[in-house]
Symmetry: D3
Subunit: 277 residues, 6 copies
């Protein structure tokens, strides 16, 4: 992630929680008071956002902070492990606490869930990707957390990937026509992916040479047939109805990519505490 691009977002989040200031803290602490806090994992998790998010949030609020024992993003952390310690002005620590925790609890939750999917299919040559089902305003952060968890990202936005869906196909009359129209205007730097529901559609995709064929909500048997038909001539992505119970069987069909909306829309926030002392 790019601090240059991230800072504006983090500032906005801080302004949301600060509005016109922290009235409790300002009543009690002067700007000389300093403190030491520890961010601690209260359950096992995969770390995500330690330095670029949690530490950065506090840095945006003021100077004279030091960070220690910062865990590397992507590493596995147990209950009770220290994620980082922070030494600095109490006013800064209290102002940033909620925003920092709200962010990294979510990011660690996503990384942790992603890792579960990745581990579940580790015997297969398949990649787990996210989708665009991210929290509005947090896409850069959530896609980073997916990577920290061992997943890969699917397209970032409507601008950097082509995904031809049923209504696009319906409007054009056929997959072939839709692919043709898209190829005419879209940069060659972007691959073309088509969503399919049937093996006939898969065949049509092969005939017009699409880069990736998405098998949408197909049963395992059909997926297996599709993979056989495609036979390496396009990447194959399984999508729809993926969960931790089904992901391994889906991987077993031989698809190359499994995209999982749940990684970002259904991850539980990890439990992280900020303790003073």
């Amino acid at each position: 992630m790019d601090t240059f691009l991230l800072d504006d977002q983090l500032r906005r989040f801080l302004r949301e929680d600060l509005e016109h200031g922290d009235i409790t803290t300002d009543a009690i602490f002067d700007d000389q008071a300093t403190g030491l806090v520890t961010l601690e994992a209260r359950e096992p998790m995969i770390a995500a956002g330690m330095e670029q998010v949690a530490a950065r949030v506090f840095c945006l609020l003021g100077d004279n902070l030091s960070f220690d024992q910062v865990v590397t993003d992507g590493s596995k952390v147990d209950r009770g492990d220290v994620l980082m310690t922070i030494n600095g002005p109490v006013r800064t620590l209290l102002r940033g606490e909620r925003v920092a925790l709200n962010l990294i609890q979510r990011l660690c939750g996503i990384a942790t869930l992603t890792r579960k999917y990745v581990d579940a299919v580790k015997d297969f040559d398949v990649i787990i990707t996210d989708t665009r089902k991210t929290t509005p305003g947090l896409r850069m952060l959530e896609k980073y957390a997916v990577r920290a968890g061992g997943g890969k990202n699917h397209r970032y936005s409507l601008s950097d990937g082509v995904l031809i869906k049923d209504n696009h196909i319906a409007a054009c009359g056929s997959i072939t026509e839709a692919v043709e129209k898209t190829r005419t205007t879209v940069p060659h730097t972007i691959a073309i992916e088509v969503e399919t529901d049937t093996l006939d559609q898969v065949q049509e995709c092969l005939d017009c040479g699409v880069d990736t064929i998405m098998l949408d909500n197909m049963d395992l048997e059909t997926m297996r047939e599709a993979v056989a038909m495609i036979d390496g001539r396009a990447l194959v992505e399984a999508s729809g109805g993926v969960n931790l119970d089904t992901v391994r069987a889906i991987a077993g069909t031989g698809v190359n990519i499994i995209s999982v909306g749940a990684l970002t829309h259904s991850a539980q926030a990890s439990d992280i505490g900020m303790d003073w002392g």
Copy 2:
């Protein structure tokens, strides 16, 4: 919610997903094509964000849209129920789809979870509130969803409520001193709440006349004693370890307020589809 205040956020969310445009849609549809879509509940839920969020997202992208059968926020919706139909330019519908869905699935999820808590304690004279554990950047929206679900809001930010916590108390030497310092500077329009761990602290709060006493992670028995001690001289808020299994017992202790971080940090997104036809 205030459309005036919301529009900037919604625009930002749209820019995140659009970046420099929807390359697939622009390749396939011209700006004359129109379509009709239906937002449909794929599971039972409490509606939230129908008109002010979902409809508004599309309106920000262009004109010539009409909305029908729009469900009222806060109403209970069953699997298969229509949440709204939208008629308008296909380009607009496709551009806004993901952002609108990502938002209302989350908001309905929060409203739905809130309603479960509210229903669980409906025999008691107690209110369910949220916390500041909201998604960064979505506080206004998520707090609205809590209200749609039948809950009330706790303070919005660090600016509009005083909550004296353990580290504030430690810094001042006593609750009494912390309350005193706060009263001297904080506007009289804002109530003073103190977080307590023990009955001694509850007593000290009563002695210095705080407005709300938070019982933090106390067991049921201690809470009951605290409520008896306080005896209406302050509002009593239960906090910590609240879930759907425990909330009814907590309400039975006689507290006035139960604050539930899970409403916003752990709500599952509701399943909503956007169907063309």
Copy 3:
């Protein structure tokens, strides 16, 4: 005040005065020239905004500045006293001069006027507060200046305090109904204040337990009666027609709070010079 929150405003003020640059200064000085200036009080005043506003304005324009003899906000300053000296690049000093002076002259003016009100009632147990009659765009700064002058702040905005006025009451039919409706939706962290014109209204407020009763434009005798009626069961705020001639008599009625719109809407700018040498 929170530098994090203030910087965007200060930058906007600088851009207003700089537009595309200081054409006179750029014609005459290169970026090597340095100078020493003294901000000096040209009349007695209460200092406000020295470090967080005046010094900060220059810092936002560039580096290599040093500040000395900076007077503490809230301290009383006489004609001829130095408020601060600044050493730095001439280009920076000339670019920031007008914005810095325009700001602190206003802030010191507000602090000075506030102090007059505070001193006028110093024998009484009463607090002087501001109102929302602040200069648009300067609320954070002006409310800070009121505190520097020894006053307290009333609610910051429409979001962080409830004030039920005549048209709210009229719409609901009664104070009781208005208070009830408000209590149902407003966070418990926010106190409820009602504006009253008559003793009957005061009684109704007492009956429904409002936190603060505002006596709006009442004569001294009626205020005295109201205070007696209320007898400590709610805070009492006097509002309307307050000036330096009347404030002491109003304080004598026993009210707890006197809110003074004039603090911010009618303070004269203090006379401050920036001298080179």
Copy 4:
């Protein structure tokens, strides 16, 4: 004034007062309630900002507003005169009230004070101008109010006028050198003005052909001599120590321009009420 340029400012002012919403009004009024309000002058004044500021503030908050009996900016208004009536949603009227009033009370105050200066010198061929001593963030609005009052504007910012002051002169060694340096770089579309303290300096200005000579804090006799020396070869501006007691005598010296910082930094807010009914 340019609505296109003004809207961003007005929105910012509204956000300052609204933060996350008007909690009192939202508790009491639904979005169907409409009302009629009258803005009324509570003292004689010159109107400024009626349509472009007051009406616009409400329009930015929502639709379905109508404005009647809107007084023309610059016209003289008596105590009790209606400035405008507004019909629209109560929520919109209450949300915008404070910002609209805070703005136009200040603008009318400036227009009213300006008119006093203009009237005081109406027998002379002299113009009254403002200075850059405006409220940070309000320059466009305050300079408009000066024009509504019958004054003219001095330069808007450091970018659109050259004013060579004592420290510029000192740095260059002489007025001649400073003027020369400035002429070399500044666009020919911008006039060159020099601040002078002595008649020798006035002579030097004449010798190097400056466009406007500012007589800074000179006594009446010296100003008269300066005007005679200059004899129409440059515009003459009197500056410093101008108030309503002195302005007529200064005009009598024959200067062309009198700049008055007080127009913007010391105008009293005009008293305007917003009445419901």
Copy 5:
């Protein structure tokens, strides 16, 4: 192009030219005066930006405008042809004139130059693309103009295309290693392109299956050999030293794509007049 995304840019451009207003026009025209203007081509050109840029610029400044005879983007226009007529308030027409002209003159210039390249290679099955050598701040607009001229776009930014250059290769030790590293992290929705200087590098690209091979500054003979080697197994892009004199010969080598930095960095503005009457 997406009006939703474009408006912020256009507003910024207008603010740059308007700063605090159009002082000449405001002195002379009131807001009632209306006028009719004609945008006319003063030389042959390909139209670009007529409706979405020129017309939109005026619309952002105010209402009551009508546009007629608007030429379609991409169409060929002769000297003297009308590009559009505009009827509306004179103030709006004069305020927007310079920004509208500055923009469309540039966009038409780019479209016109692009068309020349496209026409020059029309006998070949090759596409002409732009590069990232666009004017900072105008990328969306300039890439649109390239499309209007009949070209295609190369990647939009560093985010939506992979281009492995010599320094990337050097850092990794080999093309193979660089491609491998990239494939591991970059979404499958994005094609991988590698810049090559030699036929050995071309071979290495083929061996590791890159999607597009850029032949950077190769002579015609080498390009021809490269095309033969690649033989349809990857797209081939010619880059470097492309101009109207060389482009046809380059196309003759059989490459699929010719990228031309000159389209955006060296296009001459088209001559367009705005005539009143």
Copy 6:
């Protein structure tokens, strides 16, 4: 140029090229890798934007950069000369490269073209100025480049100069009336310039004392007559049809100012390379 004012623009340009990050570079380089690059002139040019633009672009992306051998803006540079060397993190160098080059190639191009015009008229007492025909969004930068090339700036925007054109004159009925109206409202700090087509108009300008008379598209003979008529009573600006072939003859007519739109709308980007090693 003012770094304070420039930074927001440069950040925007970087965001345009970075969108959500540099995916190629992030795949290949970690944040420890450092490198040394040289910006080199590939043709003769006048340097512009070295320190304030090129170096600044990289600084906005991160720390730990050092710049050496930085050529002074305005100096003449030959083919092969080093413009600057930069040592720093590879990620930063690759992220900023395109934006920095796109900017300085344009700025050096403008400075270089300006110098040609300036040199062409160096025997005459005449100044070369730009116009408002700048690239939208780049005015501050392009006007700086004109100064670096030895030219002067004409008015910056519609706010800081009066230019009365034919449609203004037509609306008023006469030049005299237009000038009169303008003088009444425009600050005295701004000179008044009128565009003329005929000698009669020139005479009318003289009669009403305008500051600058623009001779618009006149032939040399008429210009000579106009200069004789004006005889120093106003500045004379030649405008229209100026190019490197005609500029010397125009200067020979005795005009004071020659404004050249081509400086900014038709300058060719200078060829600058960024080499690694």
